[in-house]
């Protein structure tokens, strides 16, 4: 189980996370929704220890990652796989070495075993025979899939997805959603995704939590979120430009200027 307790983080005096509390159950897919720039990715980076909070705790199976030194953090990180927004594939390495990166760094398995594992991971994300290609030769959707193959190569227990459907066309976005759901079922992992794409959230989530003004505004099953009476959550999930979130903000200048 992952528990986030009273998490606070500021950048240059601007509070991004403000006493945020969230519990993520083992084996569930939890989707964190919120507006662009509201701190969703920052929250994800706290969970995997890429950022240290100003205060608060992130407990993974009862162990606080905010208090760990680098070696302990690396041991915990081996339990995670993360898909970045732009896939973050290493430009200088080919697909094989990108996917096998964790194995190259943290195991002594033979080349044949690595090749087998890489082919297995690529086939899980619907790709084959692209091991020799460089990331620059791949399309956006393929890059996301290779990023996902790299994330699952070390057989993680927790998968983190940062905007998994951003930057790909709607059809590929839906394919990525199917892939996330399929991987969740096959690998039996705990998944946490951050997104502002509501169709993606409804499709993959067991639980949806909305981040607003630095803390969790609402959480519940997709059905509960769909039927919420909270005007702020309603405005976000329906994508209305007028409402309590945008009160006092005039979008007219976007049209006239």
């Amino acid at each position: 189980m992952i528990e986030i307790i009273d998490l606070c983080k500021s950048f240059d005096g601007h509070k991004v996370l403000d006493n945020l509390n969230l519990r993520i159950n083992t084996g569930d897919t939890t989707v964190i929704i919120g507006r662009s720039g509201c701190g969703k990715s920052v929250l994800l980076k706290h969970i995997i220890g890429l950022l240290r909070p100003d205060s608060g705790h992130v407990l993974i199976d009862g162990k606080d990652v905010t208090k760990m030194d680098e070696k302990q953090l690396n041991d915990v990180r081996l339990k995670f796989g993360m898909l970045f927004q732009g896939a973050a594939l290493f430009d200088s390495l080919n697909v094989f070495n990108n996917v096998a990166f964790g194995l190259n760094e943290h195991s002594n398995v033979s080349f044949d075993e690595k090749a087998k594992r890489v082919a297995e991971c690529l086939s899980l994300v619907g790709l084959k025979d692209i091991e020799d290609k460089k990331p620059a030769e791949l399309s956006g959707g393929m890059r996301k899939r290779v990023g996902l193959a790299r994330a699952i190569c070390m057989k993680p227990r927790i998968l983190l997805y940062d905007e998994p459907t951003t930057g790909v066309d709607p059809i590929m976005g839906d394919a990525v959603n199917d892939l996330i759901a399929e991987l969740h079922n096959k690998l039996k992992v705990t998944s946490i995704a951050v997104t502002h794409d509501m169709s993606s959230a409804y499709k993959i989530a067991d639980k949806i939590a909305m981040l607003y003004n630095g803390s969790i505004r609402a959480e519940g099953t997709p059905e509960e979120i769909k039927n919420t009476k909270d005007p702020i959550v309603r405005q976000f999930i329906t994508g209305a430009s007028k409402g309590p979130i945008t009160e006092g903000i005039d979008f007219q200048h976007l049209i006239t200027e």
Binding site: K45, R77, G86, L89, F90
Partner: protein
Amino acid sequence: MKDFIVMLGRRFMNFVKYAGGVSILLGETLFWIPMPPLRRKQVVEQMSKIGVDSLPIVAMISLFTGMVLALQSAYQMQRFAAEMYIAALVAVSMSRELGPVLTALIVAGRVGASITAELGTMKVTEQIDALETLATNPIKYLVVPRFLALIVMLPILTLFADVIGGLGGYIIGTMKLNISHGMYMKNTWEPLKYKDIYTGLIKSFFFGIIICITACYEGMKTEGGAEGVGRSTTASVVVSFILIIASDCFFTALFYFVGKQ
């Protein structure tokens, strides 16, 4: 007046922050060097990129510098009929000063800029974060191989620059100023002391550290997409140039005073 003091204070704080960041990166790099794995393959790759690939431009610039040095000093020395000392002047100034400094400036411009651009792009595309999520320390993986390659290859490139600069002087001396081959060689080797060569190499070793740490620091703190990468790359070259010239002044003074005692 108040605004001026605030601005001065802010600049000073930025300077302290920068110096602190660079020192921490240097400390962490030194800490990670002996830690396994040693990544020999990556070090050799970087040596090739940094050293071997820089050799043509270093050779060309050193050759022309040696030639210009010989011609310019001939202009002065002909007045005193002292052309035969041109060989000594070229050899000593190349090995003590121009070899190390010019090579460092070329490498800072060519290699330092490319390190910053590469690491900066990795930073803004979250590749450095990805390294950390894969339980790999970015300093060990990215900075250490470049650091080792630079501190080994910059002195070697400097040796090449010394020799090729001398060759430039030799070409002008023997073909244009009518100094005989034997006389030129004698006047090159006789006044040249070991100290002239090793002080130059010591300088270039420290220039290598400056170039690597400045370039990596600028790269790893890049923010703001392509524009940020451009800004960091410019800053990396400018800061490296300033630090190379400033530390050259420091080392020259140090060797001068130590040599006198």
